[in-house]
């Protein structure tokens, strides 16, 4: 067993240095002659069983507690409302809601009902799904600044009922809700956001 290499914190002068001075400090190792390691395989090597593999499907399920802020936010969505919170110290009206103001580090001061309209802060036209499948008609994810909240307070959502070529930053949009019966208290209670004429 090698002895622990950790030296006493306060004995900087009495420290044992295990590394001897190299007689010659000239490069004893050259990058140019190095053989870099790493064996690249092709898809076929795997598919045709040229190398051994193991396969695993995990069982990893969760039920995340919504807590106070998100619980109330989702409850609001169920009733067709977008709720935010406000901090009296910095004056911000925030969405999505949280029970604390992250900049003032204090508990928030109350709830505010926001509008279900907003402005496109930025967007994309996405031709691949989350699991990398190609789609013909693009999904249009966007950050939407919610009316009634402080400037720049947006949420991520999708745009719809719009020609992808006609979407622009600064476009005014309105939420399209699921029917009251179908709403379950989820971010998907809003189907998408459509342009306001």
């Amino acid at each position: 067993m090698k002895k622990s290499n950790i030296k006493n914190q306060s004995s900087s002068e009495g420290r044992e240095v295990r590394i001897e001075h190299k007689k010659s400090l000239s490069p004893h190792y050259s990058l140019l002659t190095t053989k870099f390691q790493g064996v690249g395989l092709s898809d076929d090597d795997i598919k045709k069983g040229k190398v051994c593999t193991t396969h695993w499907i995990g069982d990893t399920k969760y039920a995340w507690d919504q807590g106070i802020a998100i619980g109330k936010y989702l409850e609001g969505l169920k009733h067709g409302k977008i709720l935010g919170v406000e901090c009296h110290k910095c004056g911000r009206k925030m969405v999505p809601p949280r029970m604390f103001c992250e900049w003032c580090f204090k508990t928030i001061d109350g709830w505010v009902e926001l509008f279900d309209t907003g402005v496109v802060n930025t967007f994309s036209l996405c031709y691949v799904t989350w699991d990398v499948k190609r789609v013909k008609e693009p999904q249009i994810p966007a950050v939407i600044e919610i009316d009634g909240a402080s400037k720049g307070m947006g949420i991520m959502h999708l745009l719809g009922e719009v020609n992808p070529k006609k979407v622009y930053i600064g476009m005014k949009v309105k939420a399209v809700w699921k029917s009251e019966k179908e709403r379950e208290g989820a971010i998907t209670d809003i189907l998408y956001w459509k342009p306001i004429k």
């Binding site: 090698k2 870099f36 390691q37 994309s124």
Partner: protein, 386 residues
């Protein structure tokens, strides 16, 4: 104040789409090469730090523990840090505070990523970086956030895709000279603009690939550095900052978290005029616009000015401020944490004049490496010099 910390050795594996080696074996190859490069052995290492991004890629819970033997951690103080994509550069900061504390004399820094294990496609692993309740039900993918950010950036400063594409052209070409590069290729702006649209404005060739690979560095204190090498590269400054996770509440046009991290590192390094006091930069470039975004965050140019520098050729290897001379993530590959550390390894080789065909002619004395991660949220910065 603190102790001076030097980088004395570096090692890396090839970056490949799918490695036969396990993550442990990749880590070993990089660590062993780093040790050999400075003639050290594992028993001369006091502590090991490991950087690796999400566990989901490997599908291994507590991945840091799983990789530890390959990283040389047996019987040693060992810790794994993570700040998403910022991990690679952060791990150097982690090694730095180990040694600057005076408690540890020599530290092996290893970064590994094996993304190919994830099925059906590594990109799908990114679904779970989004908020489980308010975002994941929308089935977002990683491209969304990049595309959203890129669009905001382009729109704010009125930038053209042609100009941004120059970054990908430069980096993929630079990578032709990198022996470990995965997708080095001579491409033109036209190739990039004609490549498949993934999530407009992001196209196929704007993006770095999915990769497997590992990189390692050896950090030591000043006394030992002088014993091991006559060309130590000093860690002059480190910085990191994490912005609010409410990313839709921020203006994505500017990475202020990178600026905060850079200010911390520059202050430590005594840099007051980064544009002139830094001779080579390795900003994080998983997407071409990110290099530009990060140059601005690093205050190497004003806001919205980075594309013009690229157009003017300033960031070429023979330019005034060579940027990503390694080929970056766009060219060499992007095994997340390992890619970040590769940037610091590149600076190490450039400053020592050992970068071979990639060597910058104008003998750089100081370089900055930076990585970025999470929900467009983390900046990690390391300044090194000779």
């Amino acid at each position: 104040m603190g102790n001076r910390v030097a980088i004395v050795g570096a090692g890396m594996t090839k970056f490949v789409r799918r490695a036969q080696e396990t993550g442990k074996e990749l880590s070993y190859h990089a660590a062993k090469m780093a040790l050999e490069s400075c003639g050290m052995t594992l028993d001369q290492i006091d502590a090991v730090v490991l950087g690796t991004a999400p566990d989901t890629f490997d599908g291994v819970h507590m991945k840091g523990e799983y990789l530890s033997d390959g990283a040389g951690a047996w019987g040693k103080p060992y810790m794994r840090s993570y700040v998403g994509g910022g991990t690679g550069v952060f791990s150097v900061a982690q090694g730095w505070y180990h040694i600057a504390s005076g408690l540890i004399d020599t530290c092996l820094v290893v970064c590994e990523e094996k993304m190919s294990s994830y099925q059906p496609h590594a990109q799908a692993a990114f679904l779970t970086i989004f908020d489980h309740t308010t975002e994941r039900p929308l089935k977002p993918n990683l491209l969304w956030i990049f595309a959203l950010e890129m669009n905001r950036y382009m729109n704010t400063y009125g930038l053209r895709k042609e100009d941004i594409a120059l970054v990908a052209v430069k980096n993929k070409n630079n990578a032709l000279d990198h022996p470990c590069a995965q997708i080095a290729k001579a491409v033109t702006v036209k190739d990039i603009l004609n490549s498949e649209v993934l999530a407009w404005p992001v196209q196929r060739l704007d993006v770095s690939p999915v990769s497997d690979g590992a990189v390692a560095l050896i950090l030591t204190n000043e006394t030992i550095a002088h014993r091991v090498t006559n060309k130590p590269v000093w860690v002059e400054g480190v910085g990191w900052a994490l912005d609010t996770s409410y990313w839709t509440n921020r203006d994505l046009c500017y990475p202020r978290y990178v600026e905060e991290a850079a200010r911390m590192a520059y202050k430590m390094a005594g840099i007051t005029d980064p544009r002139h006091q830094i001779h080579v930069a390795e900003p994080y470039d998983p997407f071409d616009y990110k290099e530009l975004h990060h140059m601005e965050g690093l205050m190497l140019c004003g806001k919205g000015e980075a594309p013009q520098l690229t157009v003017d050729g300033v960031t070429q290897r023979d330019g005034e401020l060579p940027t990503c001379p390694s080929g970056g993530l766009l060219g060499v590959g992007n095994p997340i944490a390992a890619a970040g550390l590769m940037k610091v390894a590149e600076l190490f080789w450039q400053l020592r004049g050992e970068a071979g065909k990639r060597q910058i002619a104008r003998k750089p004395k100081r370089g900055v490496a930076q990585a970025w991660g999470d929900l467009m949220q983390v900046g990690t910065v390391v300044v090194v010099g000779i």
